[in-house]
Amino acid sequence: METTDIIIKIVLVVIIFAISLVIAMYSTYAERKVAAFFQDRVGPNRAGPWGILQPLADGGKMFLKEEIIPSSASGILFIVGPSLAILTACIGSAVIPWGQKLTIGSTVIDLQVTDINVGILYIFGVVSLGVYGIMIGGWASNNKYSLLGAIRAASQNISYEISMGLSIIALLLVTGSLSLREIAEQQHGFWADGWFTWNVFKQPLGFLIFIVCAFAETNRTPFDLPECETELVGGYHTEYSSMKLGFYLFAEYINMFISSAVMATLYFGGYNFPFMDMINSPNLVTILGVVFLFGKIFMFIFFFMWIRWTIPRFRYDQLMNLGWKGLIPLAIANIVITGVVITFLN
């Protein structure tokens, strides 16, 4: 690898990192605004025009709050918890293809940090690491509510990861590749060979299972049992304050952003958009592709919020029933159906 390549990659990493953070920051603002609109309210409107500076005010407040470590908490683990949560949230974005190649002069810039050929498995690994942040934090707090929240998070993530993996297997039968770049390339354009190219039209059931599991994995309503305020005070982050709490909250929003990006890439064509072949300049296609990808991501983030302000939380037994008795059999059936259909088509 040449030095220019390395520099380009570093710049790309920094840009993606910054974008993740900014999006996570403004997701908090968007969440409050969206919640307000859904409830016929106006929402935050004091800090700056339309309250646009609200996230900065929130962040500033978080930094200035007193840092409290409970005397009975276990010191190092208490700090490791939120750090791990935010770390795993941030590194998930490394394998997501943000766009096609950008050509400037003679240098070709690949809008993806790294194209490893097991991209999906990488994402899975990172996502399942994320629960350790919650587990460790909840355990280290030495508080019953935190521990309960952490246990819930762990069991919920394990349950839903299975059906998520199974729904991905059906997708892999269709794509035949684990690389996210290749999966995105296969969904080129919108319509080819008499059918839509986007995977959501080939795997509607799989997508449904995946999105339900994504809600569970990111601990969003209706699966926000690890931190349900009404039963567990704050769940796993009850004892946290200041920026450590901020890290947990931030991690949740970054996770939401990353899982939206993954869903857009796997099922909604990634950076592909209809009629992209009619544009001649490849660079323009790439840039438009990035715009479209972010449009899709924002759509998913909005959907996350829409669901949050519509559906009440599941009861714990309902959650487990849905996961084990509903989604897993459904995902297995989906694999069988996909396999049969593919065999017939060939």
Binding site: A36, D40, V42, W306, I307, T310, G326
Partner: protein, 165 residues
């Protein structure tokens, strides 16, 4: 027994059928309801800048009235304090001296007149009780404050501004 309003409905708890058990139809219905609200005009207003119009019989902050010549109407009869269910009103009466006829309409007047706005429930009974038409609840919303003692409004805040100003 027949219910008074005739609105009583007997609900029976049935086990969920298939459509209800897969949640999706209900979720879609819920989503369609919430998205309708998303585009609806907010029912709240940006309060200090924007104000809702008060209805005609809105009862806000009290004001002690003056008559046509700018004299205070209140004669410190205490009827308002007596009628107040929240016991929010206290006053001290004083006798009008020679040369104060342009200030007070009656021979007796309220030297001190205080309403505790934290006690007041804005029922308007003081207004009804007053034989001199001296007190009306025609003001604005009572503004917020930091200290309890600042909610006891004396004559400085209650009496109407003099006519000639």
């Amino acid at each position: 027994m027949e219910s008074l309003s005739n609105k009583k409905k007997v609900l029976e708890v049935k086990p969920l059928n298939f459509m209800e058990r897969i949640y999706l139809p209900a979720i879609l219905k819920g989503l369609s309801i919430t998205i309708k609200h998303f585009f609806r005009k907010p029912v709240t207003v940006r309060y200090p800048e924007q104000k809702r119009e008060f209805s005609e019989n809105f009862r806000g902050m009290h004001s002690l009235k003056r008559d046509e010549e700018g004299r205070e109407r209140c004669t410190a009869c205490g009827l308002c304090a007596l009628s107040c269910p929240a016991e929010a009103i206290t006053m001290t009466a004083a006798e009008r001296q020679k040369g104060e006829e342009h200030l007070y309409r009656e021979e007796k007047y309220a030297a001190v007149y205080e309403i505790n706005m934290l006690r007041c429930i804005f029922c308007g009974l003081c207004e009804e009780a007053c034989p001199k038409e001296a007190i009306y609840l025609d003001g604005d919303i009572v503004p917020s404050d930091m200290l309890r003692k600042d909610f006891i409004y004396g004559k400085d805040k209650l009496v109407e501004a003099p006519l000639n100003q």
